[in-house]
């Protein structure tokens, strides 16, 4: 099980408090679809994904991104208990959504990059390290129930 130090938890929660979840969620999912176009395979019903600007402006992408990042907020609240917190979502992603867990790692790293663009110098190497631990923990928790 992953253990977060007090400093790591502070680095995570203090930054999270300043994140606009709706905006950042849309941006994270959008960038995932732009930078790794094969991830679009899960979103045939989303309409126009034909260019970077189409993707970033797509209302379904924004809405779904908000959903995903809101759920990520649960990770921040349950940081000592990620596997339990994400058990049901893990089953869903395996049994119903059929998402390769590699995609969770890709999205986690895109999220880290977005935090870097938003927070600049404040996103120090130490803060990044705490966030890398969290996104890895979430990816592992979401993969945990795969069979």
């Amino acid at each position: 099980m992953v253990h977060f130090t007090a400093e790591e938890k502070t680095a995570i929660t203090s930054l999270w408090g300043k994140v606009n979840v709706e905006e950042a969620g849309g941006e994270a999912l959008g960038r995932l679809l732009v930078v790794y176009p094969w991830t679009q395979r899960f979103f045939d019903s989303f309409g126009n994904l034909s260019s970077a600007s189409a993707i970033m402006g797509n209302p379904k992408v924004k809405a779904h991104g908000k959903k995903v990042l809101t759920s990520f907020g649960d990770a921040v609240k349950n940081i000592d208990n990620l596997k339990t917190a994400f058990a049901k979502l893990s089953e869903l992603h395996c049994d119903k959504l059929h998402v390769d867990p590699e995609n969770f790692r890709l999205l986690g790293n895109v999220l880290v990059i977005i935090l870097a663009t938003h927070f600049g110098k404040e996103f120090t190497p130490d803060v990044q390290a705490a966030w890398q631990k969290l996104v890895a923990g979430v990816a592992n928790a979401l993969s945990h129930k795969y069979h």
Partner: protein, 142 residues
């Protein structure tokens, strides 16, 4: 994976924007890599790995200078990086997984310092560029 004309333009533009700071960015990217992915430190037991050390910043400049060469030869990366490719294959033998980790931290560094220049298409082009460089550097491994 092929770098399109648009990719090449994006990479050149953002690297030029970084300008004289590329050496500093190289050092910062290494710092970030060592902190976020401690296993990467195993290749540097001969260096002082205190965050921001002279060794790290010096090595960061080396990495940045090599990337500058790459940016100047986007039409022939295998040719331009051939000697570095030999070095990594026969001497350094850094496990291929680590190139992704450093590449990611280079993207984080650029994103944090040049947020206005790091749009989604530029992000995509830089990711592709670093991935291509990584492939070239590991191409002679076996």
């Amino acid at each position: 994976m092929v770098l399109s004309a648009a990719d090449k333009a994006n990479v050149k533009a953002v690297w030029e924007k970084a300008g004289g700071d590329v050496a500093k960015f190289g050092g910062e990217a290494l710092n970030r890599t060592f902190l976020s992915f401690p296993t990467t430190k195993t290749y540097f037991s001969h260096m002082d790995l205190t965050p921001g050390s002279g060794d790290i910043m010096g090595h960061g400049k080396k990495v940045a200078d090599a990337l500058t060469v790459a940016v100047g030869h986007l039409d022939d990366l295998p040719g331009a990086l051939s000697k570095l490719s030999d070095l990594h294959a026969y001497k350094l033998r850094v496990d291929p997984v680590n190139f992704k980790l450093l590449s990611h931290c280079l993207l984080v560094t650029l994103a944090s310092h040049l947020p206005g220049d790091f749009s989604p298409p530029v992000h995509a082009s830089m990711d592709k560029f670093l991935s291509t460089v990584s492939t070239v550097l590991t191409s002679k491994y076996r």
